[in-house]
Structure formats: structure tokens, C-alpha cells
């Protein structure tokens, strides 16, 4: 029996990289969604269908995702404005670091564990594609003894976070169970006895100039 085509053919990471680069050149589809918040990254969904979710994300003030994965989703990112530091987790060593500036793009498959943070003084804007659209994510944190823990979270925890003024109202038992301990900008909810994987100081590369890099 021959294989039938998928109902929802999913783009490859390389195809998504081409896509985000193309969308970056079409600001009418996303420019109205650009909004910077000093306290947090802002996420706006450009579109979502069966195989693909597209987002525009705005960064400033060293906003940081912490180390995470995207469960079964691959993805690609294109930087519009500003710069982003991209780190990949290395066991027993410092993270692998690349700085991406305007016009740079990169892609990743679902197996990658990575971290992104705002770099420099200029607010950043990035276009993201995920396939299949984001559903669950893994957020990483370490215990005091260095053991690594993966927390399965709804993508809403990352992309539709609770507003700060409501976070203060949440019960401490809920906070200690929240796996965003792996994000540096969620220090308010860091669980006692846990250390974020984002607290080490990665070696800093010089900002990458021009071109693109597939990591």
C-alpha cells in the first residue's frame, strides 16, 4: 500500500526559515501587532491553522525565555529589529551562544533545547513559525544538586502569561509548582530550592554581523 499524503503537510524547519524571512518582508501582516512592554515579552499570534502557527514577539530589557523546548514542534525565527541571544544547552559546558541581528534567521527541530534573550539596548522584534502550532512546551530547571528537571507546560504559560498584578494574588503552593523557574524573567515565581538553568553566565559572543546562520 502506498503512503497517502498527510492531511496537514507540515513544513520542514528549512521551509519555515524561508517563510519567516518572507513574512519579515511583509510588515503589513504583523507591524500593527508590535508592542513593547518593559516588564515582559509580548506575543501576538499572526495566524494559526492546521500545520502552522505564526507569531510576532517583542523584546527589550534583557527579556529571557529560560531554557525550554517545544515538545513536538519545530520552528524558525527571523529577527526584524534589535538583537537576540540564542543559547543551546550543553551538558558539562557553557551554552553554545550566537547573537542574531536584523535580517538574521535560524531554524530548529523539535529535539532542540534552547533559550533566547534580548541582547543590547535596542528593543527587538522577531517573527516565529512553529509546526505543528505550539501546544505543550518543556521548561527546564535544576535542583541545588544540579539535577535537571523538565516541566511540561501549556504553551499559554509562556505565550499567554498571567499579568503581574494577578500573579501576586496567586497562592504560594501554586507558585512553587509553576515550572517557569527556568525563566530568568520569572524570578518572582522561582521555587525555593530550585536554580534556574538561566542563572549561569554564558560566554558572550560578539554580535553576529549580517547574513544568516542555521543553528
Amino acid at each position: 500500500m502506498s503512503a497517502s499524503p498527510s492531511v496537514y503537510p507540515e513544513p520542514t524547519p528549512a521551509e519555515m526559515r524561508e517563510l519567516v524571512t518572507r513574512i519579515a518582508a511583509e510588515p503589513d501582516s504583523w507591524r500593527h501587532l508590535v508592542r513593547h512592554d518593559p516588564d515582559r515579552r509580548t506575543y501576538e499570534q499572526i495566524s494559526r491553522d492546521g500545520p502552522l502557527g505564526l507569531w510576532v514577539i517583542c523584546w527589550m530589557n534583557d527579556h529571557d525565555t529560560g531554557f525550554h523546548d517545544h515538545d513536538i514542534s519545530s520552528g524558525a525565527i527571523c529577527v526584524i529589529d534589535g538583537a537576540i541571544k540564542h543559547e543551546r544547552l550543553v551538558i558539562g559546558g557553557e551554552p553554545s551562544v550566537v547573537i542574531y541581528g536584523p535580517g538574521d534567521s535560524f531554524c530548529f527541530d523539535a529535539s532542540e533545547v534552547h533559550r533566547m534573550s534580548h541582547w543590547g539596548d535596542v528593543p527587538a522584534v522577531t517573527i516565529h513559525a512553529y509546526s505543528p502550532p505550539l501546544w505543550r512546551m518543556g521548561a527546564y530547571a535544576t535542583d541545588d544538586d544540579g539535577t535537571l528537571h523538565r516541566h511540561s507546560i501549556s504553551y499559554a504559560e509562556e505565550l499567554r502569561p498571567v499579568l503581574p498584578d494577578r500573579r501576586d494574588l496567586r497562592a504560594s503552593s501554586t507558585l512553587s509548582g509553576t515550572p517557569k523557574a527556568a525563566t530568568a524573567d520569572a524570578s518572582a515565581i522561582k521555587a525555593p530550592g530550585r536554580r534556574s538553568t538561566g542563572t549561569s553566565s554564558p560566554s558572550r559572543s560578539k554580535p553576529k554581523s549580517g547574513g544568516s546562520a542555521t543553528r
Binding site: 495566524s47 494559526r48 491553522d49 505550539l134 501549556s154 499559554a156 504559560e157 499567554r160 498571567v162 500573579r167
Partner: protein, 294 residues
């Protein structure tokens, strides 16, 4: 309840040695605890569920909207008057009789502060049903108010007679699911094209309709394109089905719903961010007028 107790044909409530019974066409008789409908008890549940406000909808499976106009009118009036008298912990959806689909039935509840209109899923379970309700839906769309689709029959889609011996849960797992699933797909087929600006909330995850997106595409239907103005509520579902819905639709189209007072509320079990989306952010998008129509 008083209006239902005065009726001689279903829907009605009757008292016998087992207490109060609700009798509907097509469903086994079921016991009703009138205390569960006491406004103060309902208000305490709103507070216990940590809600600022709960929106009440008419129980469309009763079939009130499907009755002949002269029978529906006193029951609809009793419903509207009853919920309009509730305190600030409550809001409500208006309801309309469908035997005479007069669009002015939309205006009166909205003028009284009802948030939108609810409609039985059986009324719009096919493109032809959507056409029959077209004037109502267009009026609602022009008023920039949302539609709630809830399980229930229409005059042109009566519930089939109930077989003897059916378990109590049978209607909720068969007819209700089928009505909601059909209404979702009817809206996909023609409803959105005919009502491009209408904000719609489908109860009970639209009977799982969105979860069939791959099958729809495989059968030649349109591929899934998430519609910012189509919402589904979570009534009677828990973590597994809500998680499925998040996977297919994303979190932005989900709204918290419960089947109180028939059932207790269920938690939003997917974390604080999902809870915030389902209880605050998304209901706000559903209920607030998007913009003034020309």
C-alpha cells in the same frame, strides 16, 4: 419553575413521591432539586468558583424555544424576567422563540442588558437551519453582540422519542454532542460566510467539532484556519479534552463554561495562564463589541 409547573405537556416539572421531576421530549425523566435553582445558592457558587460574574443561559434542551409561539412566550418571559432580577453576580444570555423567527426578539433582551442571544444547536445544525435563523443572526451581528450555541431542539429538529431504559447521561452524550458537532460544521460550511462579523461561542467544545479538523480536511472540507471570533466553552470537560482543544485551536478561543446547577464546576486544570485566558482574557474578547458597525 413556576411557569413549567403549570404546563400539561413537556417541558414541565411535576412533583411525585420521589420529589420534583423534569419531563422533556426525547429524554428520560430526571429529578430536579429546586434548591439548586435558588438565586442565593447560585450566587454562593459564583463566589465559591472565584468568578466575578456568571452568565446564565436558558436551558435549551428543555425545548422552550421550539414550542409554538403562544406556548413559548410566557416561558421566555418568565426566563427573561427571572434572570434580569438577579443581582450583580449574574449576567445572562437572551433567548428567542423559533417558531416565528422575528428578529425583534434580539432587540428586547439586548436593550435590557443581556449580553447576547443563545440559540439551540438543533436550530442551526444544517445550512438550511442557519438560513431559517438568518434574520436573527443578522440582527445580532448588526448589534455587535455575540451568539451562544447550546444543545437543544428547534421546531424543525425535534428530539426523537426516548427509548425506555436509557441511562440519565444518554442525551448529554448522544443528541447534545451530535447537535453541537453539526452546528459547528454548519457554521464552517456556510455560517461564517453569511455572517462574517458574528462572534459565536459554542458550548461543550462544540461537541468536539473542531477536533475533527483533520477528518474534515481529509473529506474535502476546508483546512482548519483558526477564526478569532469563534469560541468554544469547556462545560463538563476536563484536562484531556481541553488539552486537545488547546492543541487544535490554541488557547485564545477557549472560554470557561460550566453546567451549573446540573453539575458542579470543573477546574481549569492546565495552569494559571490557561485559567486566565479562559476566565478573563477570552471572555472579554467574546463579549465586548469589537468596533462600531457602519
Amino acid at each position: 419553575m413556576a411557569a413549567l409547573s403549570r404546563r400539561r405537556e413537556p417541558p414541565l416539572i411535576r412533583r411525585d413521591d420521589r420529589g420534583w421531576l423534569l419531563r422533556l421530549r426525547g429524554e428520560p425523566d430526571c429529578a430536579v432539586d429546586l434548591a439548586d435553582h435558588d438565586p442565593e445558592r447560585r450566587g454562593q457558587w459564583v463566589e465559591a468558583d472565584a468568578l466575578d460574574r456568571a452568565l446564565i443561559a436558558i436551558s435549551s434542551p428543555l425545548g422552550i424555544e421550539a414550542l409554538p409561539a403562544d406556548e413559548a412566550a410566557p416561558l421566555l418571559a418568565a426566563y427573561h424576567d427571572g434572570v434580569a432580577a438577579l443581582d450583580e453576580r449574574f449576567g445572562a444570555w437572551g433567548a428567542a422563540g423559533l417558531a416565528e423567527s422575528d428578529p425583534r426578539q434580539v432587540d428586547a433582551p439586548l436593550a435590557r442588558g443581556f449580553v447576547g442571544l443563545s440559540i439551540p444547536a438543533g436550530a442551526i445544525a444544517t445550512p438550511a437551519g442557519l438560513d431559517r435563523c438568518g434574520a436573527l443572526l443578522e440582527r445580532l451581528e448588526r448589534a455587535n453582540a455575540p451568539l451562544l450555541v447550546h444543545p437543544g431542539p428547534a421546531p424543525w429538529s425535534p428530539a426523537p422519542d426516548a427509548e425506555d431504559g436509557l441511562p440519565d447521561w444518554w442525551p448529554a452524550m448522544s443528541g447534545y454532542v451530535a447537535q453541537m458537532n453539526s452546528a459547528w460544521h454548519a457554521f464552517v460550511a456556510t455560517g461564517r460566510a453569511d455572517h462574517p462579523r458574528l462572534r459565536v461561542l459554542f458550548a461543550m467544545l462544540a461537541g468536539g467539532g473542531p477536533l475533527h479538523a483533520e477528518r474534515l480536511a481529509a473529506r474535502g472540507g476546508p483546512g482548519l484556519k483558526v477564526d478569532d471570533d469563534l469560541f468554544v466553552d469547556s462545560s463538563s470537560y476536563g484536562v484531556q479534552m481541553i488539552d486537545h482543544a488547546v492543541r487544535v485551536l490554541g488557547v485564545d478561543q477557549l472560554v470557561y463554561g460550566s453546567d451549573r446547577p446540573v453539575l458542579g464546576s470543573l477546574d481549569c486544570p492546565l495552569g494559571e495562564a490557561v485559567r486566565q485566558a479562559m476566565l478573563v482574557t477570552n471572555p472579554s474578547r467574546l463579549l465586548q463589541p469589537k468596533e462600531v458597525l457602519a
